[in-house]
């Protein structure tokens, strides 16, 4: 068996072992720690690219762990949607790991860095495992790894706020896990299988015998995943957790972690419970209603925030709403919009949080009203932030526009044009809280911002670069921090301008997920 056949397993287990090695590397050579973690994520990304390549060429890689065949062993199945998730997770995870190289010393104490990277890679491997696994109980185990890793990343910031937010996040996420495990137990007692392929087949035969148990199980699964994905009004833990965490953790949590739960819920509703899909119409209706609440409510909360990271966290609540809106409408275009939103928001929100991290680290500013004239001292960072914010508003040519466009089509396909209005309105609401920030960056008088003002009036006050590294040190931040945000901002243009291949791939994905023929 060529080594590439093992990639569905090694992408998960390799990252997991990388996590275990981090404290050891920190003990032996702390200087190598960041590079080691980045190397592990690069390996994961390369394997992700390979898997995606195979999926694009029509394959569906299947891996039997330990060689045990389906109902007995654990299967890893790289469906098109799983390959997409793997590529997004490993790609954005890799960029954040590179960002950590330059950033980590500013928020994490040296002795804790080994454990921080360990939690970082644990989280990544848990999410990768959740996307490729084809087994219900394995999903639960990987989900717990993800949850613990995510909470550890919040608690890593050694402040009162972070400890409090991490505890609240941990309690609610574990409650959600318990509900999901209950749901999994019910599915097992109906079908006698944990392998998703077999569960689907058995459900088709058995769900009419146990309609109440089947309904209870999908209800518990939905509730659990919605709580973890912060679907409005179950988002109460999110703003504190995402804003109190160190900035790379925020990028990870907001960009990736909420998506993996949304993705798993879509997988449950549209693949595993597909046999009873006619019965699930009220559930999809509920998702649509809550998603609408999220899109409007999240934006309204975001408007009144003064702390930049809290504003971004509330914006996540609103943006997750699009994913659930697409999932709830359930027409091919809407599902496509949901997946495009997963990619687009992963890049956009990570970019915004990483930019907020650079601003925080360079100037110590969290409050928006103290960020006047920031573009004069941090031109690249503010430019990347502006691009990402405009994408969030949904400006054409940027990737944030595409999911909105397909949601319009999805609303028409589902014969519910009211959602065109809701999506348009939410774009305006986004503009209401993102444009003032951009205006402050570029056009406000920097004299109200002492840090910026000093740097502009008296360049000597700004830390002078050492002469021998003039070119690199003249930059506003180390290249390891600027490069990821620049790549993300450029990625938004690429996704927004060259939509052909992505849309074609997502179209096939949505049609195969809904089992309707590709037009």
């Amino acid at each position: 068996m060529p080594i590439a056949d093992h990639f569905p397993l090694t992408i998960v287990v390799g990252t997991l072992f990388g996590a275990y090695l981090c404290p050891v590397v920190a003990y032996v050579r702390r200087r190598w720690l960041g590079r080691f973690a980045a190397a592990v994520t690069v390996l994961a990304f390369l394997q992700g690219v390979h898997l995606m390549d195979r999926v694009v060429h029509g394959e569906q890689p299947l891996y039997r762990v330990g060689g045990w065949a389906a109902p007995w062993g654990i299967e890893l199945l790289v469906t098109p949607s799983a390959a997409l998730m793997v590529l997004v997770l490993s790609g954005v995870g890799m960029l954040i790991a590179f960002y950590c190289l330059g950033y980590i010393d500013h928020e994490i104490a040296p002795r804790a860095q080994g454990w921080y990277y360990a939690a970082f890679l644990l989280l990544l491997s848990g999410m990768l495992g959740m996307s490729v696994t084809n087994d219900l109980f394995n999903t639960f185990v990987m989900m717990e790894i993800t949850t613990l890793g995510a909470c550890a990343l919040v608690a890593a910031s050694d402040t009162q706020r972070a400890a409090e937010a991490a505890l609240r996040y941990l309690l609610l996420a574990s409650l959600a896990s318990t509900m999901i495990l209950f749901g999994i137990g019910m599915v097992y007692s109906i079908t006698g299988n944990l392998n998703l392929t077999f569960v689907t087949k058995e459900l088709a035969l058995a769900w009419r015998t146990y309609p109440r148990l089947a309904t209870a199980s999908i209800g518990l699964l939905t509730l659990g995943f919605a709580l973890k994905a912060a679907l409005f009004p179950l988002h109460v833990w999110l703003p504190e957790a995402h804003s109190a965490a160190p900035s790379p953790s925020s990028a990870m949590l907001s960009g990736l972690v909420v998506k993996i739960y949304a993705f798993t819920l879509i997988k449950m509703v549209y693949v595993v419970f597909a046999p009873m899909s006619a019965h699930l119409a009220p559930l999809r209706e509920l998702l649509v209603v809550l998603a609408t609440g999220a899109i409007i409510g999240g934006s309204l909360f975001a408007m009144v925030q003064d702390d930049l990271k809290r504003l971004l966290a509330y914006s996540t609540v609103a943006q997750v709403g699009y994913i659930f809106l697409g999932a709830g409408l359930g027409s091919p275009s809407a599902i496509m919009a949901a997946f495009f939103q997963i990619i687009s928001h992963a890049l956009t929100k990570s970019c915004l949080f990483l930019c907020a991290g650079i601003i925080l680290e360079r100037t110590g500013r969290r409050r928006i009203r103290l960020m006047d004239g920031m573009s004069k001292v941090l031109p690249v960072t503010t430019a990347a932030f502006t691009v990402a914010a405009l994408s969030m508003i949904g400006l054409p040519t940027l990737s944030g526009f595409i999911p909105k466009w397909h949601l319009f089509q999805g609303g028409l396909e589902a014969h519910r044009p009211v959602f065109i209005g809701i999506v348009l309105m939410s774009g305006l609401l986004n503009a209401v809280y993102y444009l003032p920030i951009i205006w402050r960056f570029y056009f406000a008088d920097p004299r109200t911002c002492p840090v910026v003002h000093r740097a502009v009036v008296d360049p000597a006050a700004w830390p002078r670069p050492p002469l021998y590294r003039r070119l690199v040190a003249r930059l506003e931040a180390p290249p390891s921090m600027l490069a990821p945000v620049t790549v993300m901002a450029l990625g938004l243009f690429v996704l927004g301008l060259f939509t052909g291949p992505t849309v074609a791939f997502l179209g096939r994905l949505a049609h195969s997920l809904l089992e309707v023929p590709v037009p």
Partner: protein, 125 residues
């Protein structure tokens, strides 16, 4: 209805325990009690799994050459719950660690008190 309850009483108790755990977690202000509530809810799910694998009158799943056609209980749910217990222990340990940290900061275990102290601190800064 009563008959079905009498036969399937473990499932009934699992549901009751789950609700008790949920209630404890969501309504008590004491952080330790919240963790206890989480564990009660978890135990309810474990009970559900174990009851599901059990079948009255069947043997433990050890293959005995003397009785090649003996019927066994399903060992898989018990094996799964072993993993579930490990997960619950690690979540509890992590939560207790965070609670110790919070107690050092605030000197109280009461969640409402902590929120009050936080707002006072925020107003000062």
């Amino acid at each position: 209805m009563v008959e079905r309850l009498a036969v399937n009483y473990p499932y009934f108790f699992a549901a009751v325990l789950f609700v008790i755990g949920l209630h404890t977690l969501l309504t008590h202000a004491n952080l330790l009690k919240k963790v206890i509530g989480l564990n009660i809810a978890g135990t309810a799910v474990f009970l559900y799994f174990i009851a599901m694998g059990n079948a009255r009158g069947r043997l433990e799943p050890l293959v005995d050459p003397a009785h090649p056609h003996a019927e066994f209980v399903n060992p898989l749910p018990s094996a799964l719950i072993l993993t579930g217990i490990v997960v619950a222990v690690s979540v509890t340990a992590f939560a207790l660690g965070l609670i110790v940290k919070l107690y050092r900061y605030y000197g109280t275990l009461n969640a409402e008190e902590i929120v009050r102290l936080r707002s006072v601190l925020d107003a000062d800064s």
